[in-house]
Subunit: 366 residues, 2 copies
């Protein structure tokens, strides 16, 4: 194992690049310990003879006379085993991202579903500068597909909705992401000036994945580490990473790369707080604290009146109950957010009751 920055957290070898077959190494790590897995597995079986069975025996069918069905079988066996090992490692609310092209992504997607993973979204990385199709026999292959899945249907995976919305300038993030391919200064070269890895992923892609589906301190595993883009972005963003890579040349490039990466400071890593994370304020507290008086009138958007009662419930005609229940009753709606629905009068002006909730929350920060 390469342990230049060796450290341990909860028995996990975090911030290291582990040497070996990804399935074996994953099976050696403790069950239910990983928050997120990002996997960019190989699929170019014809050109790369580096695919091995779980028992490490060499696969002949791949570089032998090309037999589509035999090779799909081999690829499916490989996919099944590493996805199984990955699922064992995930915490119950953990999640996985896989990336691929039409050569392999359908097989990965089907196997994810077969194993009980629950697909949350498929995401299209739309390349702003793809390689053209020179022979004019196909469409320009201008995208790759990612699949984001939780460990099971009833899991509660991390999703930083607000942070992604901010990244997209206030509009909810879509399932198609326009990002350039990795080239220029970001593209790692070996000593001969050749690209160090054929499929190095752009850091921007991992930035979006990690901002959106992990929190600072989370442990992110990449079983096909390559040049370590996942590790580099994880380190910048204050996440822990574990990389697995069997090729020494890639481990070396990745380790050197990681040594140059610096973590962003804490303030920069803070992202927009979701409203759901803010402390709950019972409406009754406004009455207890005298911000609203029992008997005082609240006004609906359509001018209907409800009276505040001493226990923090409302009464309006036949309807009585919480601010939400009475609002829903007046609107004949299945639900209603009473905080944004009701207003009251102060000094001749009409004010939302949510202003009072914000006052209480502001005090709680002191």
């Amino acid at each position: 194992m390469t342990k230049s920055n060796a450290s341990e957290a909860n028995g996990l070898p975090v911030n290291q690049i582990l040497d070996g077959d990804c399935i074996e190494v994953m099976n050696s790590l403790p069950e239910g310990s990983i928050d997120l897995i990002f996997a960019d597995p190989p699929y170019n079986l014809q050109l790369k003879g580096d695919l091995h069975r779980p028992d490490n025996s060499k696969v002949d069918a791949v570089d032998d006379h090309w037999d589509q069905f035999a090779s799909f079988k081999v690829y499916d066996d490989f996919t099944r085993e590493w996805l199984k090992a990955a699922r064992r490692l995930l915490k119950p609310d953990g999640a996985i991202w896989v990336i691929g092209s039409y050569h392999n992504v359908f097989r990965m997607g089907a196997e994810l579903q077969n194993q009980g993973y629950w697909i949350l979204n498929d995401v299209i990385w739309r390349k702003s500068n793809p390689m053209p199709n020179f022979r004019g026999k196909r469409l320009t292959n201008a995208h790759e597909t990612l699949i984001w899945a939780s460990k099971s249907e009833d899991a509660k995976p991390t999703f930083n909705y607000e942070a992604l919305k901010e990244l997209n300038e206030g509009i909810q993030m879509r399932s198609d992401w326009v990002l350039p391919i990795c080239n220029g200064g970001e593209r790692l070269k070996n000593g001969d000036g050749e690209k160090a890895h054929p499929t190095q992923k752009p850091e921007a892609l991992l930035h979006r994945v990690l901002i959106g589906t992990t929190n600072p301190g989370d442990v992110v595993l990449d079983p096909f580490f390559g040049t370590g883009t996942t590790g580099a972005v994880a380190k910048m963003l204050g996440r822990e990473f574990i990389g697995i890579e069997r090729e020494e040349a890639y481990r070396k490039v990745a380790a050197e790369r990681l040594s140059r990466v610096r973590k962003f400071d804490r303030e920069a890593l803070a992202t927009t707080t979701p409203k759901r994370a803010q402390p709950r304020v019972p409406f009754g507290q406004l009455v207890e604290r005298g911000m609203l008086r029992p008997g005082e009138s609240l006004i609906s958007p359509r001018g209907q009146i409800a009276k505040v009662r001493a226990d923090g419930t409302l009464i309006s005609g036949e309807a009585r109950g919480s601010i939400h229940q009475v609002g829903a009753a007046l609107e004949s709606a299945p639900s209603c957010n009473g905080w944004t629905y009701w207003q009251f009068k102060r000094d001749g002006k009409t004010v939302s009751i949510d202003v009072l909730r914000q006052q209480i929350r502001a005090e709680m920060h002191d």
Copy 2:
């Protein structure tokens, strides 16, 4: 069989809507007789409860009986059978298009490969106006996936490279297609003014498919005909169609629609594409792409400093939010164009962040 426009070509019931189960009907047609199949099968959506918009209106979901399958096993059996029947019908150089979402497309793609179909491209239909994710729990589901495959690896499928290039303003057509969903006047309604079919596809999508991968006079089969978009566009473009549809209500709507369709003149095919507006660039993309670093300082015209956060928001004193919001806060102004307001330092010089936006836009034109 509905044979209002009954005709025969090479023993094929062309330009008709056939009644019945698509597998049985396909098996009754002659082997090796079809040039192109376009298939929009049930997606096997698995919806639980109702979904309401934030304004409390209810989403009219796809809950039709024909979209219900008991298990992946049942869906896979169905997929295997209709793809097998489809492959028997194709001419040796014929091709197939299938469309789906992440619920079913991985299973279709894997089965296509298993049966010996050869995938030519996967194509992303990027919806310009998708339905948002109302609960903020996922990414906006903003695309669907099509797979274009030939009958076998050594086939020579029709591909009208030049025609697609023309459709794309002289640039090689990519594998991601931006098209609006089908609504407005094109969306077929039933007598009650409700949508006639829950998943009617836009004609523009079929236009591109048929222009790109068929020739005039080709026979196009759609085994899940629905409201007959495939037939309508085929007729307009001078292709023959065969539709199979087991729901009488859909057959009726489709037949009526087809009776109104007229074949285009050749000139009518030429369309002028309006100049696109400048693409919107989210500020967060500058951060994801490393053009600005989390923690880096931006400078206002009056020398005030704001720090960039990892989600593309700024923080300056008490103010936090988008580049526009923080700029407006510092100026006590109702609004502010952050792009022209903020600057940063590079190599000792002060540069407007708008320069970075222009860089990104320049790349997007490639």
